[in-house]
């Protein structure tokens, strides 16, 4: 109970620091998510659309997933130095596999009959991707983005190891200066941030999912979208 009082004290004695680090960490996370999405989503969509080169999405995702964040940071310090780019690369590598795999699985799994019907109606391949496959892929893709947002926000503190000052990691990795109370206060902020991020993307998902899909999803049952975050197809 003693510690709880100290956590409260920390909020009162370091409000400016917590606030600026939260803002800074949020910015870093938004950039990392955006970069990861721009890299992973198009590849996943194209591979899923072609139903070919799936090994690229699956094995590429698996290899990236295997790279430990600390190893990427350390190799980065050796090759291109510490700092913003270093932590950005580490966070992007952390979540690219999630978005890549989910985008691929989502587009690959779109009902072939629906795609055939679209083709029969005279839609071009580009129109099929934009009007049929991507709208149908939204739930799974967004499930990946939501998980990715949690990974990035919870993981951003390692910026302190990567030589990038200004994240909550400055407090979390410095128990010597800020005591356990400070670490736990910064941790609480980070957790709240992750939960807020998840809720925001859940809201975005609700806005983006086409109406027809919501109706059919109600019939299909719950859970299907979340589960595929982990690729069951990975062994293939």
């Amino acid at each position: 109970m003693h510690t709880f009082a100290q956590i409260g004290d920390f909020f009162q004695t370091h409000p400016g620091m917590l606030l600026s680090e939260t803002a800074n960490q949020t910015e870093l996370c938004v950039v990392a998510l955006a970069v990861a999405f721009v890299i992973a989503f198009p590849i996943g969509v194209v591979v899923g659309h072609l139903h070919r080169w799936s090994f690229l999405a699956i094995n590429g995702g698996n290899v990236l997933r295997s790279l430990p964040t600390l190893a990427i940071i350390a190799l980065g310090i050796a090759l291109y130095g510490g700092g913003y780019i270093n932590i950005l690369v580490a966070l992007v590598v952390l979540v690219v596999p999630l978005i890549l795999t989910n985008s691929y699985v989502a587009v690959d799994g779109v009902d072939p009959g629906m795609v055939e019907a679209a083709r029969g109606m005279g839609l071009t391949w580009w129109q099929i991707i934009v009007r049929v496959e991507i709208p149908n892929a939204v739930p799974l893709v967004m499930a990946g983005v939501r998980t990715a947002s949690v990974y990035v926000i919870a993981g951003a503190y390692v910026g302190a190891f990567a030589g990038y000052d200004g994240t909550l990691g400055d407090i979390i990795t410095n128990q010597g200066s800020y005591k356990l109370a400070g670490v736990l206060a910064a941790t609480a902020v980070s957790i709240v941030l992750a939960v807020i991020g998840e809720l925001i993307f859940a809201g975005v998902q609700r806005l983006l999912v086409p109406k027809g899909l919501k109706i059919s999803a109600g019939r299909r049952g719950r859970g299907a979208a979340e589960a595929a975050v982990v690729p069951e197809t990975a062994a293939g």
Binding site: S66, A71, Y151, Y157, F161, A234
Partner: protein
């Protein structure tokens, strides 16, 4: 735990002080990206013990995590409230910055392997439990119907039909959980001096490039080999998956 208890002495860098000149002879310059001499002369005393510790930590965490998740997954079958409750708990664990989760248990269990394992096991739940539950629910209805026709009880169907058929999904979870634990165990070295993370953290302090690169490459190789081995294990224990496809 005994082999790990002496780890403080295994890693002679812990004391701080001038680090670079004492290793690998004078031929290793700080600016060199990778100094083979340092690697070979520190393999036996530093890198190999750290690698063994890392494997040890990972295996313990994945095995305990899998045991708990399997028990919880079987219990959650037909108990929707428990399933969503456990998923919510496991998801919450994921929002905790990993270092903070390791530090959280230091006041209770000290700077020990147990402290680290609690954190590592906590991070396996989401990946393992979700895949176990998904796998159990994905039993083809005709398989269930055939089992019912043979007079199996619901309990027998769960253990003898649904569980084996869920192995591919479970193993996919084990693979992701394993590489995740390998990555997180490296971070844990900031709390206790165990595993391949320890030389990396030392090198971040000292800026000695070879010591940054060597354990990092070992860490990546370890993760890739572990992932590959688990694929082979999965293929060996689920021969029917490939039989169906071909």
């Amino acid at each position: 735990m005994t082999p790990l208890a002496a780890s403080g002495s295994v890693i002679p860098l812990a004391g701080g002080g001038p680090v670079i000149p004492t290793f690998g002879g004078s031929s290793c310059k700080n600016s060199a990206t990778f100094c083979v001499g340092w690697f070979t002369s520190n393999w036996g005393s530093l890198l190999q013990p750290a690698l063994v510790q890392h494997i040890y930590m990972t295996v313990i965490a994945v095995v305990i995590g899998l045991a708990i998740s399997l028990a919880a997954g079987l219990y959650a079958y037909r108990r929707g409230w428990f399933e969503s409750g456990f998923i919510a708990f496991a998801t919450f664990v994921y929002t905790i910055p990993s270092l903070a989760l390791f530090l959280l248990f230091v006041p209770l269990t000290g700077l020990s392997l147990t402290t680290i394992e609690i954190g590592l096991v906590g991070y396996t739940f989401l990946l393992l439990f979700r895949n176990i539950v998904t796998g159990l629910h994905a039993t083809p209805p005709e398989a269930t119907a055939a089992a019912e026709g043979m007079g199996m009880t619901p309990r027998q169907i769960l253990l003898r039909i649904s569980l084996p058929l869920a192995i591919p999904s479970i193993m996919a979870g084990v693979r992701v959980a394993t590489v995740t634990v390998i990555a997180l165990a490296a971070i844990a070295a900031d709390v206790t001096s165990l595993g391949l993370g320890k030389p990396i953290f030392d090198a971040i302090q000292s800026g000695f490039t070879t010591e940054l690169v060597a354990p990092s490459l070992l860490l990546i190789v370890l993760a890739l080999i572990a992932d590959t081995l688990l694929v082979l294990v999965q293929r060996a224990i689920t021969p029917w998956v490939r039989a169906v496809r071909s």
